[in-house]
């Protein structure tokens, strides 16, 4: 079956410096990532004829969540693109890559630069020291926040924790099982030079850490950081022209089949994963058994466990036993998971660290954390907000 994704390949990747409190202008991080990706693809800046990003420009004072929008990238690099797109409403953090693939398939662009940058760690430090303008003083609430914030439910840590408690009560999932995901991430981070936290983490460390919002402790939560990742989505007819083996896109999943809400649906899983997961398998002949490496969004440990179930690597409710002990998800297990250390240990690059790692694994360039012979990677991002999935392949 021919799909629009097959018109594109992922030809270049670039990552900026990544770290805590780098105190760099986020546009310098974005510039670093973009130039690295363009060079990695064997292209010139002038070859870039499309730009996508997420969440796009946000009005009001900067938040640290993003550097700016697609227009800022055009100005930053002096581009004259045929097409740009930046938006927050997308199927998962990988949505801008889907936009890029659609533009390539439609003939609107040949080499699209997709970039995501964040500087949450420095921005928080700047706010605390009075060197950045605080957010606009809060007036009355509107939108989704109006249904949560009056009750002190301020953070995804709260919204997702309530799904985790449901899962634990319904299926008997334990903190130690959630902890297996955090410990696996840390073990993999030890082999990743850009990971932020690389020292060993024990189950005792995990269980003893301060509680954020039950059942989540500190190590159930990902690490706010500064950094940017850029990916070049090129027309498939240029695949052989790159400096590295091009990575193919077997299929994407983008479907929304639940309420777009943190509380108006079944609480036993993270909302808005199942549609994107089912859609992926509906659009591919590959199956779970074909997957060699999984890069799955781990904003919290439970997000990851819920995605493992949604993607069908185990039955719904069996995610706890599936990850228990960490053997199955280890680098040499049946489903190597978040081989870069994930967002839990490597840092929260809003999905793009995970996506880049999938590409590195399929190139065979992951060094000490390489899954031998990796040919198929599954990537899942988002959830809560609509999720997005991708099946990437070394060859197609």
């Amino acid at each position: 079956m021919e799909r629009f994704e097959h018109s594109s390949v992922l030809r270049g990747i670039g990552m900026s410096q990544v770290g805590r409190r780098l105190m760099r202008d986020p546009m310098s991080l974005v510039h670093e990532a973009c130039m690295a990706a363009i060079a990695d693809a064997g292209l010139e800046v002038s070859d870039i004829d499309g730009v996508t990003t997420s969440p796009g420009a946000i009005s009001g004072p900067p938040t640290g969540y993003t550097f700016g929008g697609a227009f800022d990238v055009v100005e930053l690099l002096g581009l004259t693109p045929n097409w740009v797109y930046g938006a927050a409403e997308a199927p998962g953090h990988s949505g801008p890559l889907v936009d890029a693939m659609l533009a390539v398939a439609a003939g609107l662009a040949r080499h699209v630069l997709t970039v995501r940058g964040t500087w949450e760690s420095s921005h928080t430090a700047l706010l605390r020291s009075g060197r950045a303008s605080p957010p606009t003083p809060a007036g009355r609430l509107s939108g989704r926040a109006a249904w949560h914030a009056p009750f002190g439910a301020m953070s995804p840590a709260n919204w997702i924790a309530m799904q985790a408690t449901n899962h634990m009560s319904t299926y008997g999932t334990t903190r130690e099982q959630l902890g297996a995901i955090a410990l696996n991430a840390r073990a993999n981070a030890a082999n990743n030079p850009w990971a932020i936290y690389r020292e060993p983490l024990s189950m005792a460390d995990y269980l003893d850490a301060r509680i954020v919002s039950t059942p989540f402790g500190l190590y159930d939560c990902d690490v706010p950081c500064d950094g940017a990742v850029a990916i070049i989505v090129s027309h498939a007819d240029s695949a052989a022209d790159g400096l590295h083996p091009a990575v193919g896109i077997e299929a994407i999943g983008s479907a929304i089949r639940e309420r777009i809400s943190w509380d108006q649906g079944d609480m036993s899983h993270e909302p808005l994963q199942q549609g994107a997961a089912d859609h992926l398998w509906e659009r591919s002949d590959l199956r779970q058994d074909d997957v060699d490496v999984a890069q799955i969004y781990d904003g919290f440990t439970f997000n990851c466990l819920s995605w493992i179930e949604s993607l069908g690597f185990c039955e719904v409710g069996e995610g706890g036993p599936f990850v228990e002990g960490g053997t199955r998800i280890a680098l040499d297990g049946e489903l190597p998971l978040n081989t870069d250390g994930g967002q839990l240990s490597a840092g929260r690059l809003h999905g793009y660290g995970l996506i880049q790692e999938a590409i590195i694994q399929l190139r065979g360039d992951a060094g000490g954390r390489q899954v031998p012979g990796a040919e198929v990677a599954v990537v899942a991002t988002g959830g809560g907000a609509p999720g997005g999935t991708m099946l990437l392949t070394r060859t197609r």
Partner: protein, 143 residues
Amino acid sequence: MQDDAPLRRPLPALDDTNRFFWTSGADGRLRMLRCSACQTYVHPPRPTCPTCHHADLEPHEVSGRATVVGWTINHHQWHPAFEPPYNIAVVALDDDPSLRLTTNLILTDPDDIELGLAVEVQFLECDDVWLPLFRPIPHGEAG
């Protein structure tokens, strides 16, 4: 009950579509929007029914009884009005369990919270808003 906390919680902006919900507690009763054509409850409030697409929706009084379907004890201070630790819960309304409200439970021991806990509404009056909070229904009175 009146909110006598030293700092005001963040409160929703009221408009002609949601005002009925946030002020429903003035007479101690919980109301949810319902489609007059197909009888489907619609939440959060909006002007049209996503099921049958009619535009004739009316606030409908519900029992105020509900069941806990998710909860957390938050230990991090996100906002000066909320001193941790405090509980947050999602409850499913007995009148239609697909209707959910994020809320706080009024109880002294957080260990009493469990999946399926039967609760009933108790409003917290904050300026022009009545926030629907929920308290456990004493044993023997549920149902």
